[in-house]
């Protein structure tokens, strides 16, 4: 047993860092220990599919500033937590140590999914970490034919970046409409047009069944589709979503259901009841958001930052802390278009600025007579006004 006490934060990325910084902002002066599976200090993931992959951002611009991270904060990098005993208040590490805590933050993020049956061949990449990005970037410099599996946000951004690098790009999407769950069918079709307008091939309803390799059996040469066609590829980037990194908690008694279940204060639940002094934040946390009366898990940058802050406030102030009821926000840069989204998608859609076929427009999503979400292409001011309406539970449709 290694004595530590204080606050132990499992996960040394954005959510964990923001938790630590907020604890210091609020005057907490005990020990803070951050456990990071990767060998790196906290860095930003959004540039990994955009500027950093394109080579227009330097590593300095990707690593996060460590303000408020002082001598009483310790990073344990290249170290994984493998279990937690919430009764004894200790975290088991893959080094064989057990780390004692007074308060615990679970911020382990998510792991990228892969396609079942895809062989582990040279030239096939997932994209989650800066090391993944550096490996992919090096390979892209050889001018390969790129196939992106999955037309979600990561896949779409990677495709746009590769196109910008002058590479031949094909996107394969298993579903008939890209991003339908995230933005609805109508907007999904509009997003698809961003690719085709730029001459990027987008194949919808294209189920991937396997890979073809060269004579050595080591390097990928093509992606095989369910209809029997082979799509030639020197590089395959798989971007088919993520799963919350919660398997290390399997024996902890903590409620796991597509993430770590939390209440409105980000307090971790076991048997439906808050575990004393344990909170979660970021991609791994599935919490009750009272603004939407919905249990949600959000895999975006802004949420990791905001929830890290909220979780820290809860650790310090309990139920006197504000409940975590944000309007989720994310953006995606694809080609020359900035896509911004706030709230949740809903079944009803009202275009409130421009038209869906325009380069710039804004629209609102409604559910049950209330505005629940909004999306804009190149209309940031309009979007932020819609965000206020969502936060205020305004009726749908909003005034145009």
């Amino acid at each position: 047993m290694v004595a530590s006490g204080g606050v132990v934060i499992v996960g040394a990325s954005l959510a964990g860092l923001r938790t630590a910084q907020t604890l210091r902002d609020e005057g907490y002066d005990g020990t803070v220990t951050l456990i990071g599976a990767e060998p790196h200090l906290p860095y930003d993931r959004p540039p990994l599919s955009k500027e950093f992959l394109a080579g227009t951002a330097t590593p300095d611009e990707v690593f996060l500033p460590l303000d408020k991270i002082d001598v009483e904060c310790e990073f344990r990098l290249s170290t994984r937590a493998i279990g937690v005993d919430v009764a004894q208040r200790d975290v088991g590490l893959d080094t064989g140590e057990n780390l004692r805590y007074d308060r615990l933050v679970i911020a382990t993020g998510a792991h990228p999914r892969t396609v079942p049956g895809l062989a582990d061949l040279d030239g096939v990449f997932l994209l989650r970490t800066i090391d993944d990005c550096l490996a992919l970037k090096e390979r892209l410099a050889r001018g390969p034919r790129v196939v992106v599996v999955g037309a979600g946000f990561i896949g779409s951004e990677v495709a746009a970046t590769c196109h910008g690098l002058g590479l031949d790009v094909t996107i394969l999407e298993a579903l008939p409409v890209p991003m339908e769950r995230a933005v609805g069918a109508l907007v999904g079709h509009r997003c698809a047009r961003l690719h085709t307008d730029h001459g990027v091939t987008l194949r919808l309803g294209a189920g991937v069944t396997g890979l073809a390799s060269d004579d050595t059996g080591r390097s990928v040469t093509a992606v095989a589709l369910a209809d029997g066609t082979l799509v030639p590829a020197d590089v395959v980037v798989v971007g088919v979503g993520v799963t919350p990194a919660s398997s290390w908690l399997a024996d902890s008694g903590i409620d796991l259901d597509n993430g770590v279940r939390c209440d409105r204060w980000c307090r971790v639940l076991a048997g439906g009841q808050p575990v004393p002094d344990v909170v979660a934040a970021g991609d791994v946390a599935r919490w009750y958001n009272p603004l939407f009366d919905e249990v949600m898990r959000v895999e975006h940058w802004t949420n990791a930052a905001e929830q890290g802050r909220a979780a820290a406030l809860t650790l310090l102030h309990g139920e006197d802390a504000p409940v975590f009821d944000p309007v989720p926000y994310f953006w995606s840069d694809q080609y020359e278009t900035k896509i911004q989204f706030v709230g949740r998608p809903g079944p009803d859609i009202q275009v409130v600025d421009g038209a869906l076929d325009d380069d710039r427009f804004a629209l609102a999503y409604g559910f049950d007579g209330r505005i629940v979400g909004a999306l804009a292409f190149g209309r940031p001011a309009r979007l932020m006004k819609l965000r206020n309406l969502i936060a205020n539970r305004a009726p749908f449709p909003p005034p145009t």
Binding site: E61, Y329, K338, G378, A381, M384
Partner: protein, 81 residues
């Protein structure tokens, strides 16, 4: 008390200690996170550019400004003073 005592100019000490917001517009990508934290200081307009509504915001906004510095996804905001 004379009227002049209340209607005079702002004491110099307040002005020299004012906090000043600086944005590196080469880094700004108009993600509008700052606007969600401090809409009285930052506004991203539909021309796609960020506008600073108050370059020297009142001291009461310092915690919000410090959050903007930290939360800007591109690290484009700093404060002087």
């Amino acid at each position: 008390m004379s009227e002049g005592a209340t209607a005079g100019p702002e004491p110099l000490a307040h002005r020299v200690s004012a906090m000043r917001v600086v944005v590196d517009f080469d880094k700004c990508k108009s993600n509008a996170v700052c606007m969600t934290i401090a809409p009285e200081v930052f506004e991203v307009r539909d021309d796609g550019y960020l506008y600073i509504l108050q370059e020297e915001p009142p001291e009461a906004l310092r915690p919000a400004m410090e959050r903007c510095v930290r939360e800007c996804p591109t690290g484009a905001i700093s404060i002087e003073g």
